[in-house]
C-alpha cells in the first residue's frame, strides 16, 4: 500500500443522496393508518408486485419502489407521481403479494391523498369534467351511428342536473368545477 497522509480531507461527494432526515416519516404512518394500509410495513421488497403488474414496464417508479418510497417517507414524489394514476386496478399485485400488502388499495389511498392536495393529472380532471357536464364518462354513440340505427338524436332520460348538484358538493366537483 502506498504511503497515505495521516489526516485525510473529507472526501468530495459526487453522488447526490436523498437526505433521510428530510423525509417525512409520518407519511408511512399516515398510509398505514388508512383503511387497507395495515400490512404496509410487512413488505420485504421481494418485488412480486412489480413482477405481477401488467403495465409497470412503462413506469419510471415500479410498484415495489413506490411502496418502498412510502415506507421511507418520500411523500412528495409518491403523491405527485403519474404512476399511481396509471394503475389499472387489476389487483394482481395485491393477490400475489406473499406478505398480503394491499398494494392496489394503498395506491387508492395515495390517489385520495393526492386529490386532497389537488395533485390530480389533467387527463383525470378532464374525465371529471366530462362526468360533471354530461353525467357520463364517455361519449355513448356518434351522431351518425344513431341515425343509422334509427335512434333519436339525443340519449333520452339522462338527468344531468341533479347529478351536477350532488357532484358539486364532492371533492370531484371541487377539483373539476373550480376550473369552470
Amino acid at each position: 500500500m502506498a504511503e497515505t497522509k495521516e489526516s485525510a480531507e473529507p472526501p468530495t461527494i459526487l453522488v447526490d443522496p436523498i437526505d433521510m432526515s428530510k423525509l417525512d416519516q409520518s407519511f408511512c404512518n399516515e398510509i398505514k393508518s388508512m383503511p387497507y394500509g395495515e400490512e404496509l410495513v410487512a413488505c420485504f421488497a421481494c418485488t412480486t408486485c412489480t413482477a405481477a403488474c401488467p403495465i409497470a414496464n412503462q413506469w419510471d417508479y415500479k410498484p415495489h419502489q413506490l411502496i418502498r418510497m412510502i415506507i421511507l417517507g418520500m411523500r412528495e414524489e409518491v403523491l405527485s407521481s403519474k404512476e399511481i394514476w396509471e394503475c389499472l386496478t387489476c389487483f394482481q399485485c395485491q393477490e400475489r403479494c406473499p406478505q398480503k400488502v394491499r398494494v392496489t388499495d394503498i395506491f387508492f389511498d395515495c390517489k385520495n391523498l393526492a386529490a386532497e392536495e389537488g395533485k390530480v393529472p389533467n387527463s383525470i380532471v378532464a374525465l371529471g369534467k366530462l362526468l360533471l357536464e354530461t353525467g357520463q364518462l364517455y361519449e355513448v354513440t356518434e351522431d351518425w351511428q344513431r341515425e343509422d340505427l334509427d335512434l333519436e338524436p339525443e340519449v333520452p332520460g339522462l338527468a344531468t342536473e341533479p347529478l351536477k348538484e350532488i357532484l358539486k358538493t364532492t371533492r370531484t366537483g371541487r377539483l373539476v368545477g373550480s376550473d369552470e
Binding site: 473529507p10 472526501p11 461527494i13 453522488v15 447526490d16 443522496p17 436523498i18 437526505d19 433521510m20 432526515s21 410495513v41 410487512a42 413488505c43 420485504f44 421488497a45 418485488t47 415495489h64 419502489q65 418502498r68 418510497m69 415506507i71 421511507l72
Partner: protein, 422 residues
C-alpha cells in the same frame, strides 16, 4: 475418590466451557463418566453468556440444561452447580499447552493461572467486595459463583482481607500451576470469536468510537451491564437516537472470509427488535445483501418490519464522522437505485464469526481436518461430530452455530462416546 470407570476408558477432556462444552460435560457426568472441563477464561459460559437475550426463545442467555445432579428442564446459570458436580473437574483460567500420547491415551499438559480466590471456598459473603475494588463479581450470574481478584488493582488492605476471609478462600501469593492429565477422549468445544474489522477502512471500526460490533451491542443492551441496558454513545455517553446496522461485514468476502456466518442476520434482527420495542423511540436501519433468517427465525425479520425497523438492500458508500461524534453515512439502495444519506449515532457491524485463536494449534497437534479454519469432521457422510480417533468436536468450533445446534451436537458427541464404551 477417583473411581476407575469402564475398562480401558479414562476421563474425557473437554476444551472450552461454553454452551457446547458444558452440555457435553453434564451429559457425560450424568452417565458417570469423569470429565475434565478446561476453560481459558475465569468464568464459564462462553460467548452465549454475554448476549443478554437468546434466540430462538428470547429469554435470557443465562439458562442451562438441568441434569441428574441438578434436575430440571433448565436452570439459571448461577445455580447450575457446575463446580459441585462430582464427575466434572472444572478448571477455569486454564489453557491446554501440549497434547501428546495416542488416541485413547492422551497426555495433556494444562497450565492454570494463579488462583487468587478458590471458587470452591468462596461463599460470596461480600467482605472483600465491600473493602476493596480489587475484588469484584464478574457478573451476578457468573459460574463459578465466586469473587474475582485483579492484582493490578491491589491496595494495602488486601493483605488484611486475605486474613479475614471467613473460608480462607483468598491466596494473594498464588502462582500458576502446571499439571499433566491422562485422558482417553478429547472434545473440542472452543467456540468462535467475533471478527474485529480494524482493517476495513470503509467502516471506521477502531477509528470512530461509535462504530461497534453486534456482540458489543449485546453487552450494551444487557440490563446487568455497565449502562444498565440503556443505549448510549461510546463517544460521549449521550443517548442514542438512530442506529444503523450493516450485515455481512467480513463474511462472504474474498478479502476476509468466504463463508456465511449464518447466525448474524438472526441476532442482528433480535437486537434491532429489542432496540425498537424496548428502548423507546430509537430508529434503526439495517443494510443488507441477503437477509438470512433461516426457517422459524423468519419471524425475527417479520417482527422487525412490523416494529418499524427499516431495511435497505444495498451497501455503505461512505462513512463520515462529525465533530459531535455522530456519523454521516451514505448508503446505496439497490432497489430504488438511489443513494440515501443518514445521520447516525451508533453504527453496528455484523461481523464475521471466526474460529478461536487456539484452534489452529489444536488442529495441527491432533491432525484434524479443517474447513475455513474451523474444525471439520473426519467424514461428514458418516457423522458430523467425530473429528478423529477419540477426538470429537461440537458447537461453534465446527462453524458458526446457534445455541440449540451446539447443544444437540454436544449430545451427539456424548452419544457416540457412550456407544463406544458400551
Amino acid at each position: 475418590m477417583v473411581e476407575v470407570n469402564d475398562t480401558l476408558s479414562g476421563p474425557v477432556l473437554i476444551i472450552g466451557a461454553g454452551v457446547a462444552g458444558m452440555t457435553a460435560a453434564i451429559e457425560l457426568a450424568d452417565s458417570d463418566i469423569k470429565t475434565i472441563l478446561v476453560e481459558k477464561k475465569q468464568t464459564i459460559g462462553g460467548n452465549a453468556l454475554e448476549l443478554y437475550k437468546a434466540f430462538p426463545t428470547d429469554d435470557c442467555f443465562y439458562c442451562f440444561e438441568g441434569s441428574r445432579f441438578r434436575p430440571g428442564i433448565r436452570k439459571c446459570f448461577y445455580r447450575s452447580a457446575m463446580l459441585d458436580n462430582p464427575n466434572i473437574d472444572l478448571r477455569t483460567n486454564t489453557r491446554v499447552d501440549e497434547i501428546t500420547g495416542n488416541p485413547g491415551n492422551f497426555k495433556v499438559k494444562l497450565t492454570t493461572g494463579p488462583m487468587y480466590v478458590d471458587p470452591k471456598r468462596c461463599i460470596m459473603c461480600g467482605l472483600c467486595l465491600k473493602r476493596s475494588g480489587a475484588f469484584s463479581l464478574i457478573s451476578p450470574q457468573c459460574q463459578p459463583q465466586a469473587v474475582f481478584y485483579d492484582p493490578s488493582l491491589a491496595e494495602e488492605s488486601v493483605k488484611e482481607i486475605e486474613k479475614e476471609c471467613p473460608t480462607k478462600a483468598i491466596n494473594l501469593n498464588a502462582q500458576s500451576t502446571e499439571e499433566q492429565v491422562e485422558v482417553s477422549d478429547i472434545i473440542l468445544a472452543t467456540g468462535y470469536t467475533e471478527m474485529r474489522p480494524v482493517n476495513m477502512d470503509e467502516y471506521g471500526y477502531g477509528k470512530y468510537p461509535n462504530v461497534i460490533t453486534q456482540l458489543e451491542l449485546a453487552r450494551m443492551l444487557d440490563p446487568n451491564g455497565e449502562s444498565a441496558g440503556a443505549l448510549i454513545r461510546p463517544s460521549d455517553g449521550a443517548p442514542v437516537k438512530r442506529v444503523m446496522m450493516v450485515q455481512c461485514v467480513g463474511s462472504r468476502d474474498e478479502n476476509y472470509n468466504l463463508y456465511c456466518s449464518k447466525i448474524c442476520c438472526v441476532f442482528a434482527l433480535k437486537h434491532a427488535n429489542i432496540i425498537v420495542n424496548e428502548r423507546n423511540g430509537i430508529k434503526t436501519t439495517v443494510v443488507y445483501m441477503d437477509i438470512r433468517t433461516y426457517d422459524r427465525h423468519e419471524r425475527y425479520y417479520r417482527e422487525a418490519r412490523e416494529s418499524g425497523v427499516r431495511f435497505v438492500r444495498g451497501r455503505v458508500h461512505l462513512v463520515r464522522p462529525n465533530p459531535d461524534g455522530s456519523l454521516d453515512i451514505i448508503v446505496y439502495d439497490s432497489l430504488l437505485d438511489r443513494y440515501l444519506s443518514y445521520n447516525i449515532d451508533l453504527f453496528v457491524l455484523s461481523t464475521a464469526l471466526e474460529p478461536s485463536e487456539e484452534d489452529e494449534t489444536l488442529q495441527r497437534t491432533l491432525g484434524l481436518n479443517t474447513s475455513s479454519g474451523f474444525v471439520a469432521p473426519l467424514d461428514l457422510a458418516n457423522d458430523s461430530v467425530v473429528a478423529g480417533d477419540h477426538v470429537y468436536v461440537c458447537g461453534a468450533a465446527m462453524g458458526p452455530a446457534e445455541v440449540p445446534e451446539s447443544v444437540t451436537q454436544a449430545r451427539a458427541v456424548v452419544s457416540k462416546i457412550l456407544q463406544g464404551r458400551q
